[in-house]
């Protein structure tokens, strides 16, 4: 079992790397904000980043297995509800509830 000093150091190392990655690019990229290329990228970046993170969340879905029906059904419910009602809270809650019910009760394998 890791000792306390090591476990705290691991958190601090992670924090330093993460904060560096979040803060330093502003110094490097802020002068570029006026450039047309950077504006082109920055208006398209949010949608692309969210789609990539979504695929990342689904990366381990076993597509050849019936267990995949739980996340895929929940995904369909989330998308359908969001296109219909445009209520983020409702879509997330319903999608999560459907997934938890299916994963806990139906596709338990």
């Amino acid at each position: 079992m890791p000792d306390t000093r090591y476990a705290v150091a691991a958190v601090l190392v992670t924090a330093a790397v993460t904060w560096g990655l979040r803060a330093l690019p502003f110094a490097a990229l802020t002068p570029l904000r006026a450039s047309g290329t950077v504006r082109f990228l920055s208006t398209r970046m949010p949608a692309g980043v969210m789609l990539i993170l979504l695929v990342y969340c689904l990366r381990d879905v076993p597509v050849t297995h019936t267990r995949a029906l739980a996340p895929l059904t929940a995904l369909a419910v989330t998308v359908g509800l969001h296109l219909w009602r445009r209520n983020a809270l409702l879509s997330i809650l319903a999608g999560t509830a459907v997934h938890t019910l299916l994963a806990s009760l139906v596709f338990t394998g």
């Binding site: 079992m1 890791p2 306390t4 090591y6 476990a7 705290v8 691991a10 958190v11 190392v13 992670t14 924090a15 790397v17 993460t18 904060w19 990655l21 979040r22 803060a23 690019p25 502003f26 490097a28 990229l29 802020t30 047309g36 290329t37 950077v38 990228l41 920055s42 208006t43 398209r44 970046m45 949010p46 949608a47 692309g48 980043v49 969210m50 789609l51 990539i52 993170l53 979504l54 695929v55 990342y56 990366r59 996340p71 929940a74 995904l75 989330t78 998308v79 969001h82 296109l83 983020a88 809270l89 879509s91 997330i92 999608g95 999560t96 997934h99 938890t100 994963a103 806990s104 338990t108």
Partner: protein, 249 residues
């Protein structure tokens, strides 16, 4: 009090709006964060429960949630710490998983956050969800305090639910699984809203999905950084190709 344009006959001119009081900024920010908070709380509970199940102390869940605020890597960190991975390897892993944040500097509205302390905190707490909520069309009018309050509330939900999960983890019935889908559902909602903001720019989501799938198939271990790099490169290529065509026409 607004005077109708037709009455004054003056050309449209930006009217300086007095900043709303601080409390209403905070209240608006807490409302903005509700959807993400709903995803954070079950995930934070799951994170805390996993920390104590892995044999780490309950306070470590709170410390890591507060100090190393970045959900997806924290789940990995539990596994790394329990097998005493060298700190240098943890640093490399944190870099690989979190390098995507480099791209956030392009559109996160840090220029609206004022003061050195505010900017320091804002970059520190720049998680995926904070970026997603503040860089979209809807957030274009949000002033600095509203952005900071939003980040603070996300940070608070995450830290508090992690501690709660660590303390209450043993109470969750063993058969209940799948709450972690909240993260997927949240990114689904954020992606749908962001794609709608593009107003019919279909190539962008197609490029993003292709980048993600290619990265998943070819570099499953480094999927996120590879996907972001492919996506950025493809967008740049598209920008230069269409730009040149426009100049020629």
């Amino acid at each position: 009090m607004e005077i109708p344009q037709a009455v004054t006959g003056a050309p449209p001119r930006p009217v300086p709006v007095p900043p709303p009081p601080r409390t209403s900024q905070a209240r608006a920010a807490f409302k903005d964060s509700a959807g993400a908070g709903l995803a954070f709380i079950p995930l934070g509970l799951a994170y805390g429960a996993l920390v104590t199940q892995s044999g780490l102390d309950w306070w470590w869940a709170g410390l890591s949630a507060l100090v190393a605020f970045g959900g997806s890597f924290e789940f990995l960190l539990i596994g790394l710490v329990t097998v005493c991975t060298p700190l240098a390897s943890i640093a490399v892993a944190a870099f690989m998983v979190n390098v995507r944040h480099v791209f956030y500097a392009l559109s996160f509205p840090l220029h609206r956050v004022t003061g050195r302390l505010g900017k320091t905190y804002s970059t520190f707490a720049l998680c995926d969800e904070a970026f997603a909520l503040t860089s979209g069309e809807r957030a274009r009018s949000w002033p600095g305090p509203r952005i900071l309050w939003l980040q603070f509330s996300l940070h608070l939900y995450w830290a508090a639910s992690s501690v709660a999960g660590a303390l209450l983890g043993s109470l969750i019935p063993a058969g209940v699984t799948g709450l972690d889908f909240a993260l997927t559902a949240m990114f689904t909602v954020l992606a749908l809203d962001a794609v709608r903001d593009l107003r019919g720019d279909l190539p962008t989501p197609v490029i993003a999905l292709l980048s993600a799938v290619v990265a998943r198939l070819l570099f499953p271990e480094e999927m996120l950084p590879v996907a972001f790099a492919l996506f950025t490169a493809a967008l740049l290529a598209r920008h230069f190709v269409t730009g040149r065509r426009a100049v020629r026409a």
